[in-house]
Symmetry: C2
Subunit: 209 residues, 2 copies
Amino acid sequence: MARSGTTQKVTRIQREKTQAIMDAALDVFSRHGFRGSTIDMIAKTSGFSKPNILYYFDSKEAIFAELINRLLKDWLEPLIALDDHGEPVDEVCAYVRRKLDLAQAFPRESRLFANEILQGAPHILPQLAGPLRDLVDQKAQVMDRWITEGRLAPCDPVHVIFMIWASTQHYADFDVQVRAVLNTPESDDHFQQAAIHLDQMFRRMLTPA
Amino acid sequence: MARSGTTQKVTRIQREKTQAIMDAALDVFSRHGFRGSTIDMIAKTSGFSKPNILYYFDSKEAIFAELINRLLKDWLEPLIALDDHGEPVDEVCAYVRRKLDLAQAFPRESRLFANEILQGAPHILPQLAGPLRDLVDQKAQVMDRWITEGRLAPCDPVHVIFMIWASTQHYADFDVQVRAVLNTPESDDHFQQAAIHLDQMFRRMLTPA
DNA sequence: CTCTTATTTGACCAAATAGTCAAATTTTTT
DNA sequence: AAAAAATTTGACTATTTGGTCAAATAAGAG
C-alpha cells in the first residue's frame, strides 16, 4: 500500500517511482496544461501502466497538485535571495540573472507555471495572493528605500519585478517563438545573448542618473 | 448548407452566428487551450446546440484554426506600424504603448496566442518562422540603423522586441497573478501604472547617452 | 524457504467527448 | 401561399478518459 499521506515507511521503489512519474507528468502537463493532459500520456511517457501510476497517486489532480506545490518553493527562492545589504543595481541584475538561469535550466517548470496562471491559477491562487504577494511587497519596500537613498533610479518596484519575470520567463515559455524568430532550432545560444541584453538593459533602467 | 469554403452567398444568419460562435470559442480556448476545451463548452457559452456549431464549422480544429489565423494579422499590426522615419525612441515607446493597449483591450486573444505558443505552436509555427521572422528582421534592421546613427542607444534590437512582447503581454496573460500581487481583484488601474512604468523604462533603455 | 507485504497489470466501468444524421423547423425566394 | 433552401436539434455512435478491482507477481522479513 502506497498512496495515503499518513506516516509510513517509504520504500526505495516508492521514492524512485514517484519521482519518475512526476518527471513524466511534468513533461506532459507543461506542454498540454492540466485539462489537456491525460493519465495515459503520463503512462506512456513514464513507461508505467496507468493503474500503476494510480497506485502511487490518488488521481490526475493529485499528481498536478504535488508538482505545482513543489514548484512554488523553487520559484520564490531567487527573489528571496535578493539581498537588501548588497549594491542595489547589482542585486537586481543578479536576480535577473538567476531568473534567466532558472528559465534555461527548468523550462518545463516555467511552462507548467505559465499554463497554470493562464488558466486562472485554479490551484495556486491562494499562494499568489498570500506568500507571493507578501514577498513582493517586502522586496518592493527594499527597492523603495534604495530609491530614496538615491542608489536606485526612480521606478515602480513592483512593475520592475513584473518586467523581470516577464522578460526572463519569455525565453522558456515562448521558446518556440524565440527560436523561430532567431532561426536557431537547436542550441541555447540565445540564452547567452539574452543574459547580456538583459543585464545591459536593467542596468540602464535602474542606475541612478 | 453553410460550412464549405467554396464561394457561396453568405447569409445574415451565417455572419452573425459564426461571429457569435468564434466569440464564445475565444472565451473557451483562451482559458483552457485547445486540448482542454470541448465543443460542449463552446455550445454552452454561445447558447447554441453542439450540432448547430458543427453546422457552421467542420470541426473543433476548424474553429481554432479560424480564430488563430484571424488573430495573427492583428498581432503583427502594431509592429508593422513602427515608422522608420519617426523619432527612434518615441517610435519604440509608441509601439510599446500600442502593444499594451492591445493586451488590455484583447486579453483573450493574448491568452489564446500564449496558449498556442506554450504548446509548441502546432498550428502557427510556419507563420512564426515566416512572416513574423521577416517582419522582426526588417524592423531590427531599422533599429540597427538608428543605433549607428546614434539616435538609439546600443542594444540588441531583436531582444528588445522580445522584451516588449514579454512585458506587455504579461499584463494580459498573467493577469491573475498581477491582480493577486497588486491586490486589485477589480479595476484595470494597473494598466495605467504599467503604461507609465514601461514608457519610463524603455526611454531609459533606449535614449542615447 | 515461507509467509507477509508491496507492487503491477489486464480487464473493466461510467462519464465525457468529437462528430453524424435524419427529421423538424425556420427563412428566403418565387 | 407554396416551394426551395437554409437552419436547428434530439438521438445516436465510436472513441477517449479517469478511475476501479481482483488476481498475479515481486520483494522483503523471519
